[in-house]
């Protein structure tokens, strides 16, 4: 039987584990603080992004279809709500993600309203700008119960956007429209309540990535960072992940810019576009470790709720986005990684 939204939703593996719908616990005692739900349709996402597990061109059996590295099993919405209320007392937030599908906008609003009415969670919407035609639609999202929104721009230059999401893959997305929607969202939700998702490792330089983080900040949006992970069967399945050095420096720059501690203007780059000076005293920032934790929508306590444990790497590999505060050993490794400028 087709399992279409809004009656059915896909949940991340971490969310399904948290709701006791799948067995398992998190390495190093991590705990998921925000549920990620994805709208699902039998005919799938209409986009074709080169790196995405949901791409319609992806050459993979349905049972092997991962998204952001893991399985996303489907469950009935009423079961998810029941389990959330039973097992999710510690949860801070819920994120409903659109995909590029003609029904996704209406269904996202309906799902948000239902969770708003039936749970205590704060609600985010991860929106697909291609399905958003005007600012009124953004207002609808707010009225449906969201207090924050995310926009996955993912790539950081118009050329990379075209290559990975637009004409290069016969995809429907438009760079200018994505940034226009970011502006609408800031107008509706307010500064600091909009997150721009960016993926490190899709062919950009550190400088280009940090310029986009600054651009979003100047518009009133924060950046939520992801590290590229090659999805099997996707166009980029053989593309390597960014080095740890590169990812750590971008994390640090994001923390400085989004935290109001400094800006792009005070940073210096080498001829390869790698950041060599951050324009602030780094010792305390690095030692505190918060810069290397997952960036995402905040919870009721003002701390990041969307902490996505082991979302960008296998648990046997060094952590990229820490779902908890890094410990002393982690900080020692982070310092070594930050000093690595090999490409």
């Amino acid at each position: 039987m087709p399992q279409n939204s809004p009656e059915y939703l896909q949940t991340s593996t971490a969310a399904a584990m948290t709701m006791k719908l799948l067995p398992g616990r998190f390495f190093r005692g991590a705990r998921l603080n925000a549920l990620n739900l994805l709208l699902t349709y039998e005919d799938g996402c209409k986009a074709n992004c080169s790196y995405c597990g949901l791409s319609k061109a992806r050459d993979v059996d349905e049972e092997d279809r991962t998204f952001i590295r893991v399985d996303w099993p489907s469950y009935q919405i009423d079961e998810i709500i029941k389990r959330t209320n039973e097992h999710g007392k510690h949860l801070q937030r819920l994120c409903v993600s659109m995909i590029t599908h003609p029904r996704a906008f209406e269904d996202m609003c309906w799902v948000m309203k239902k969770f708003k009415d039936e749970t205590d969670l704060l609600i985010s919407g991860l929106i697909s700008p291609t399905m958003i035609k005007d600012k009124k639609s953004i207002e609808r999202i707010r009225i449906s119960g969201a207090d924050m929104v995310g926009i996955a721009i993912d790539t950081v230059t118009p050329e990379l956007f075209e290559e990975h999401r637009g004409k290069g893959v016969k995809g429907p997305h438009k760079w200018d429209h994505y940034w226009e929607v970011v502006k609408w969202c800031v107008e509706v939700f307010g500064r600091g309540n909009v997150g721009v998702h960016l993926i490190v490792g899709l062919g950009e330089t550190e400088r280009e990535m940090i310029e986009s983080i600054q651009r979003a900040e100047d518009l009133g949006a924060k950046t939520h960072l992801f590290s590229f992970f090659p999805e099997g069967g996707s166009k980029l399945e053989k593309h390597v992940q960014p080095s740890y050095g590169r990812y750590r420096r971008v994390q640090l720059a994001r923390y400085i810019i989004n935290g109001g501690l400094g800006s792009l203007n005070n940073m210096k780059f080498n001829e390869k576009g790698q950041v060599i000076e951050f324009g602030v005293d780094l010792n305390k920032i690095i030692q505190d470790g918060e810069a290397f934790m997952t960036s995402g929508c905040a919870g009721k306590n003002g701390k990041v709720a969307c902490n996505r444990p082991f979302g960008n790497e296998r648990p046997s590999r060094p952590i990229r986005n820490f779902p908890f505060l890094p410990d002393e050993q982690d900080i020692k490794l982070i310092k070594e990684q930050l000093a690595d400028y090999s490409l």
Binding site: L22, G24, R25, D71
Partner: protein, 149 residues
Amino acid sequence: MIEINNMKFPLDRKYYKKHGNHIWLKEEGGILRIGMDSFLTENAGYLSYITIDNRKLSQGEAIGSFESAKFVSKFYSPISGKVVSVNEDVLNDPIKVNKDPYNAWIVEIEPENLDKDLQSDDIVEGEEGIKIWIESEIIRLDCDAPKQS
């Protein structure tokens, strides 16, 4: 077979608990078969990788590691000896351990000093011993009962 919190533990084998291990061992014709119990599979989640890193083992030494989407750990040998067989079928498709933990054995070990090794306090057997051990593990890891499948 006993059942605790929806997890099953056959009584026809022994279990090894050192380092928080949940390894079963069963002797067949002088060879020890080693596998993972249902407490481990419930807590690790669906396994994606199992590696065998060591084939000449002392008791308590790591045989290899297992990994699921969100968890990774080593697993340790309950006895001294050498690995004489590896279940490639399970290594190629580790979720078989979740589906049928007590038939999906992982390695076979030729023991060196079996009688002595089985005297260890870390070997658990019998209904009462298994019950006390698993109940203490549930408290240690603050587990809920797994969902009924």
